[in-house]
Amino acid sequence: MAGLRLEGLRKSFGANEILKGVDLALADGEMLVIVGASGCGKSTLLRLVAGLESPTAGRILIDDQDVTGRDPSARDIAMVFQNYALYPHMSVFDNMAYGLKIRGLPKSEIRAKVDAASSLLGLDALLDRKPRQLSGGQRQRVAMGRAIVRDPKLFLFDEPLSNLDAKLRVQMRGEIRRLQRRLRVTSLYVTHDQVEAMTLGDRLLVMHQGVPVQLATPTEVFERPADTYVAGFIGSPAMNLLPGILGRNGTVVAVEGTEIPLGNRRFARPDGHPVTLGIRPEHVALDPAGTSWPVEVVELLGSEMLVHAGRADGASLTLRLPNGAALSDTVRVSFPAGQLHLFDRATGLRLEAVA
């Protein structure tokens, strides 16, 4: 039973506070994916858990044991780095066996473990090679192998797939997911990639400038983003966000003077309250009776296309339409009530309907 708990974790480099209090609990065997913009402190968080940096404040508990002050070598974790960090002077076998040798395992046991891991990852034929004789994908696998032979309490992944080409990334993504499900090792996985974020983890943590802003299942984060930052960050292309005013007793939003009904939902804010209306590009509907938007750019993506429309006042809107949809200089669109998200414009926080 190896869970992970972070309590009030903070980290400053000099005067810069990079992590501003992270609280987190992972159940045994859970995989948590961490996403956030570049520089928001994802790697720093991972390095704190690994023990490569020491926190300014807060505690790290693995398996209910406080490991905050412990050296990385005493934490029983494994980490897969973005650049793999294989030992260049050792063969694939020795790369994987290194940690086991340090633990003083008998030779036969080391051999058995390395063999098991390498056949799991399809590395059997490569055991005698040096890292420089491997392709990027193979190196990635060796890095994975080095992590799993150790049978650690915790896996840490720092953007492990970002140096691979698109096709290999899809394949390795599937493999990592299968491996993690099979081995059921508690894992933290940092990524930039939307698809990895949505598909890999049991839960998703969105970070923004050193603060965790939403921690939920990927579906929940996608369907009910906690604030405008998450709404704009998760989903590609990003959710459309339009400034509006709440009206008619909290049942409509007026955008540019056009009232958009919110269905049978009602929001407990006074009329005239400034809000941000959110709708994903795939939910915007073409509607001859709707409001009109001048088309600026059309991007063809194969099976579908993205239409970027903009108005003179600076408001912009992106639509995702099936390829071949009839278009002219302007599109007329409407916003289906069931697909609308509402956020408080002042705080950016999500507003929930009262009924």
């Binding site: 490569l52 070598s73 005493a74 980490m79 960090a85 030992y87 260049p88 340090i102």
Partner: protein, 293 residues
């Protein structure tokens, strides 16, 4: 990645390397040929006539017990200087590579000895270890150690080894530090996470990745100790007491210039030249092998 600049024609490239070639011819090739020539000749006692004697000078050299002893002494000197200079430099570089306060100051201080002229360095050491006026030397005698490098050959040898090594530590330090900093941090971090600590991590990860630097410095230091320590050794004790610090380079000078035995001295310099060529060949081989194995 190698960058090559191509100059057009033949005249310009020839012109550009001419100064260097001229220097090499005047200050190396010509004297070298001269040395080879006189190593095959013998002068009479008054320097009035010379006769061609073939390899006789060389034969005499290697049957001279003093020369054979000098070879052994030089080998010992080289090995000790190299080991000491590299060991100390590596230790200092490892310390300087860690995150410490005042790191820049510390590094600058370590690089300074390289800028001190060899004879100056020797004088500095002499002033420090002189049996009567030297800080360390006088102190040793006061606590009952019979320290006098002017009488005791072993002590003299130890002193020239330390003085020569001290000069070379800075050079080695710069290369070791650069080598250490070229090792990707994540590799060392991966080893930490794998459970490796302290000296074990140094031995299994850092040192193997530093081997190209080690090979390079090994050759450079051997060449330095064998051929480039004349000023230091000569300034400390002139090769004495007796012959106890007479290395091969010193002997060339003492036999040729001081004792005017040109034939033998030339033969000795030809032997030394052969030594330099061998070491340089080794160095080129290792420099050619840039990749980590």
């Amino acid at each position: 990645m190698e960058r090559r600049t191509l100059f057009p024609g033949r005249l310009l490239p020839a012109l550009l390397i001419l100064p260097q070639l001229a220097l090499t011819v005047v200050f190396f090739l010509w004297p070298a040929l001269q040395a080879i020539k006189s190593s095959l000749e013998r002068e009479d006692a008054f320097g009035t006539s010379t006769e061609f004697v073939g390899l006789e000078n060389f034969a005499d050299l290697f049957s001279d017990p003093l020369y054979v002893a000098a070879i052994g002494r030089t080998a010992l000197f080289c090995v000790c200087v190299t080991a000491l200079a590299m060991g100390v430099a590596l230790l200092l570089a490892v310390l300087a590579d860690t995150e410490i306060r005042g790191r820049a100051f510390y590094r600058t201080m370590l690089i300074w000895p390289y800028a001190v002229a060899p004879a100056m360095a020797a004088v500095l050491w002499v002033l420090m270890v002189h049996p009567q006026i030297g800080l360390v030397g006088a102190w040793l005698n006061r606590i009952g150690v019979a320290w006098d490098y002017k009488l005791d050959g072993t002590q003299a040898m130890a002193l020239v080894i330390v003085a020569a090594a001290w000069k070379q530590v800075s050079y080695n330090f710069i290369f070791f530090l650069a080598g250490l900093q070229a090792i990707p941090k994540t590799i060392v971090e991966a080893a930490r996470i794998d459970g490796s600590r302290g000296f074990h991590r140094f031995r299994t990860i850092v040192l193997p990745l530093l081997m190209p630097t080690v090979y390079f410095l090994l050759v450079v230091d051997l060449v330095y100790a064998a051929f480039d320590t004349f000023a230091t050794v000569y300034a400390v004790n002139g090769g004495g007491p007796g012959q106890s610090t007479q290395t091969l380079v010193l002997k060339v000078y003492l036999d040729g210039v001081v004792n005017a035995n040109i034939g033998s001295s030339s033969a000795q310099s030809v032997v030394l030249m052969a030594g330099v060529i061998v070491l340089c060949a080794v160095q080129f081989r290792y420099l050619g092998r840039k990749a980590v194995t």
